[in-house]
């Protein structure tokens, strides 16, 4: 099995299938950040928020610009496609805690300010208070980037 097939499943938006292949490729990869960026989105999409936050936090600690500088076209980032459905569901969901965390992570690929807004909304009730506080601290210290 291979990273290449994992990349292919990511392009085809088959997130569940992509996860196992990308995770397997991660330890030996010369470009782990590229894989982690994809894994964050995959884990959010399959509802595994804790796993998504783990990789998200790693990347933010290394350099938030790895995510912030994402180009939707040249990086084939699906966040513009998937964020609207997450936001639509936000109104209908009674327990939307995961949604704030998910949107906070997804938005960083295209809009840092919105990302911070959602992560701040998540902060009061999240199970991952320490991680999210750490992420917010780094993001608030990061120089704004023009998209």
């Amino acid at each position: 099995m291979s990273e290449m097939l994992g990349n292919r499943y990511f392009i085809a938006r088959q997130y569940e299938k992509a996860i196992s292949l990308l995770e397997e490729a991660l330890p030996n990869s010369s470009t782990p950040e590229k894989i982690k960026k994809k894994l964050v989105i995959c884990f959010v999409q399959v509802g595994k928020i804790e796993r998504a936050l783990l990789h998200f936090h790693d990347l933010i600690r290394k350099d938030p610009k790895i995510i912030i500088n994402t180009d939707p076209y040249h990086d084939d980032c699906p966040c513009y496609e998937i964020i609207p459905s997450w936001e639509n569901n936000l109104d209908n969901e009674e327990h939307s805690q995961d949604y704030y965390e998910s949107l906070g992570m997804l938005y960083l690929y295209c809009n840092k300010e919105k990302s911070i807004q959602y992560l701040e909304k998540a902060l009061p009730d999240t199970k991952f208070k320490t991680v999210i506080s750490s992420i917010l601290k780094i993001l608030n210290e990061t120089v704004p980037v023009k998209h």
Partner: protein, 444 residues
């Protein structure tokens, strides 16, 4: 001038007639040859570094990426049909091959796709259809004209059609014509040959399956009936369908409902069914291999296509059509057939019908070097059918002579008219063979 290795590779790739591009493990294009640039109307500087799906924009890029298939199965893919998008937005039909590139550790690091532009075949088909008698069908015999009238009369109908005719009579061409003038002509038109698939696979092909329904069902798959929703499905060789599946088909015809293999959800479709068979369907019913209720559901509009021997007057039209077709395909300037060859074709019994006639013309094209097809260039079985009776009077045509003529001709053709080799196989001297050939007027 000595070329560097890298330049040499580029020169080789650019000299290919086939388009070729490679991608890295992220599916970004990292090389493209000149033919690919020409076929797609792009310059490599515009595409290098971009994702292949953004450039080629085919349906396969999303659902059935050939490289994904190679990665999953570990086997290269050859000669599959696809469609690329020219820079102008025009769709280009292609046939492509796909292979994965691996590093020393056998890890995939990229892929290579080579492809041929098949647009010329579409152009040929369009030109040829324009010169046919009825939406791609050739024939001016009354039996054919009656079929055209029937198809036109039922053009507005959604009723099932059962097309019956011997093998090679053009059942699929008739089905295509029905589709072409029907009110569903802009909707999907799906074809399936029921004899090609084993029973278990046929169910999945027709109705689809869900992941885990059987050993190889690694993901959900939509069936042909769902693909044909709102359109038409052509079920060729319907008499080969297993009885169990005939029950399922009957239900689709009656209620428009079915279930995917391995699933209990009932799905509904709106599909017009065209079916065809070369079997004697009455006999199939009598012997319990075909359900009577299905027959009556399918046979709402019956069409019987006559064998070619029953409409011989169409042979010259068909011959001219196939000459036009193969002169376009082969780029040979052959535009005529001599009288002797036409007589041979007109009097032959054509057990394989129009398909056999087309094959005969294709064979003659391969052997013809000038602009006219001569009798000597027709397939041996057709020539032998006439050769002897042409050359000998009734008194002379003893069965021995006929047999000897045929045997000598077969062996000589086998050895490309090398008399020494033929004589050796016939266990006779070269001179004896020559004498016999002269006596029988046997010549290349």
């Amino acid at each position: 001038m000595k070329l560097l290795d890298k330049n040499l590779t580029k020169v080789i790739l650019d000299s290919l007639g086939e388009g070729l591009f490679t991608v890295d493990k992220d599916f970004r294009v990292n090389s493209m040859n000149r033919a690919a640039e020409e076929i797609l109307g792009l310059h490599k500087s515009e595409v290098i570094g971009d994702f292949c799906k953004n450039i080629f924009k085919t349906k396969r890029c999303f659902a059935e990426c050939p490289l994904e298939g190679v990665l999953e199965k570990g086997e290269n893919i050859y000669d599959i049909e696809s469609e690329f998008c020219h820079q102008s937005g025009k769709k280009i039909p292609v046939r492509l091959n796909a292979a994965v590139l691996k590093n020393e550790d056998k890890q995939p690091i990229g892929g290579v796709i080579s492809f041929r532009d098949m647009s010329y075949l579409e152009k040929i088909q369009k030109n040829l259809i324009g010169s046919t008698n009825f939406y791609g069908v050739i024939g001016q015999h009354k039996s054919m004209i009656d079929i055209y009238s029937l198809i036109e009369e039922v053009a507005e109908s959604d009723s099932s059609v059962l097309i019956v005719g011997e093998s090679g009579t053009g059942k699929e061409m008739i089905a295509n014509a029905i589709q072409e003038i029907s009110k569903r002509k802009s909707e999907p038109y799906i074809k399936i040959n029921c004899s090609v698939f084993p029973p278990t696979i046929l169910a999945s092909e027709l109705f689809g399956h869900v992941k885990g329904a059987f050993t190889d069902a690694v993901k959900d798959r939509i069936g042909r009936f769902e693909l044909a929703d709102k359109g038409t499905i052509f079920l060729d060789e319907i008499a080969e369908m297993p009885l169990q599946m005939q029950v399922q088909l009957l239900r689709v015809l009656q209620e428009g409902t079915f279930e995917r293999v391995g699933e209990s959800i009932t799905r509904k479709v709106d599909v017009r069914v065209l079916a065809a068979t070369n079997k004697n369907i009455q006999k199939e019913m009598e012997e319990g291999r075909f359900r009577e209720d299905l027959f009556y559901r399918l046979n709402v509009i019956p069409i019987n296509i006559p064998p070619l021997r029953k409409h011989r007057s169409d042979i010259p039209h068909l011959v001219q059509h196939f000459i036009n077709k193969y002169s376009l395909i082969s780029s040979k300037e052959i535009n005529e057939i001599d009288d002797e060859a036409m007589d041979l074709l007109a009097s032959y019994s054509w057990p394989g019908n129009i398909r056999e006639l087309e094959n005969a013309i294709e064979y003659a094209f391969a052997r013809t070097k000038d602009t006219i097809i001569h009798a000597s260039k027709l397939p041996p079985n057709i020539r032998m059918h006439m050769d002897y009776s042409d050359r000998y009077t009734q008194e002379e045509t003893t069965s021995t002579k006929v047999d000897e003529y045929r045997r000598l001709r077969q062996v000589l053709e086998k050895h490309h008219w090398n008399r020494s080799k033929a004589a050796a196989e016939l266990n006779m001297g070269r001179t004896t063979l020559w004498r016999k050939m002269k006596a029988l007027d046997l010549d290349k």
